[in-house]
């Protein structure tokens, strides 16, 4: 256990050190000249209007939920993929049934044109 995870921890420490040190260094050695216009949000040169804290298209939310569903399906498939030889055809048909039910939902979404991203 030690030989497997300790190097990982060491790598994490080294990368953290590198990231934190570089970030600290750039804030220390870089110049700092405050100016109202420089610190404004960039909007192609015209004065910026309001801020970016506004509600957004719900279509992306659909993508995110679908992502969660398929991610769970993929994680279910990993144990099967490791063990599918001993599970044989029974395991295959179980997975095929599971996948086809998920794909049914996928097809349902496809028919409702939620992937088209066109208004």
């Amino acid at each position: 256990m030690f030989t497997v995870y300790f190097p990982l921890l060491m790598l994490l420490g080294a990368v953290l050190l590198f990231v934190v040190a570089t970030m600290a260094l750039t804030h220390l050695v870089g110049p700092k000249r405050a100016s109202v216009h420089k610190h404004e949000a960039f909007e192609c040169g015209i004065p910026s209007q309001g801020d970016a804290r506004t509600p957004f298209s719900v279509q992306y939310f659909v993508i995110a939920i679908l992502f969660v569903l398929f991610d769970v399906e993929i994680i279910f498939l990993y144990p099967w993929a490791m063990e599918f030889r001993s599970l044989g055809w029974t395991g295959f048909f179980e997975v095929a049934l599971f996948t086809s039910v998920v794909c049914l939902g996928f097809f349902y979404i496809y028919r409702h044109r939620l992937f088209s991203f066109k208004k």
Binding site: P55, F56, V62, I65, V68, I75, E83, S86, L87
Partner: protein
């Protein structure tokens, strides 16, 4: 050695869980929840449950939290009305939580027995999932299907 890590992960989990509840900014709450999930994943590693750790990180920290962040970014609620609570709200909530924690703690400390499960337990999981629990596994697909229908209803109602 693993005792030290047990305490590190436990303290991390409790502190980040507290910060989920106490933070006023929802983005910081979500980030604290991610830290909390990672410390729980650390506990799984200590118990040798590598696959569960991977599931925890990929599904919870990687997928569900992305969904949460998405919701917060898309909704971008600026003017949340401040919820003013009466003192007895705090009292009632505190008593309920204290009772629950006490109950859980007394129950868990009697039966809690963390032990190393083994380096690789994908095979027993696969055997259990696809033979003993095959029907619940297939039923979870139906659950997904209902979630998909909910998504379409949401997306269509825009």
């Amino acid at each position: 050695m693993s005792d030290i890590f047990f305490w590190v992960f436990s303290v991390m989990a409790v502190v980040s869980a507290l910060s989920v509840v106490l933070n006023r900014n929802p983005i910081y709450s979500v980030l604290s929840l991610i830290v909390c999930f990672f410390s729980i994943a650390g506990h799984y590693v200590l118990m040798g449950a590598l696959f569960l750790c991977a599931v925890h990180i990929v599904v919870y920290a990687g997928a569900i939290m992305v969904l949460f962040l998405f919701v917060i970014m898309l909704m971008n609620l600026k003017d949340v009305p401040e919820f003013v609570s009466k003192w007895w709200h705090f009292g009632a909530a505190g008593a309920a939580v204290a009772a629950m924690v006490f109950g859980l703690a007394t129950h868990l400390f009697q039966s809690y027995n963390p032990r190393v499960i083994g380096d690789m337990q994908l095979k027993p999981i696969a055997q259990a999932l696809f033979t003993t629990y095959a029907v619940p596994f297939e039923l979870s697909a139906i659950l997904f299907l209902s979630a998909v229908i909910g998504v379409v209803a949401l997306g269509k109602s825009e």
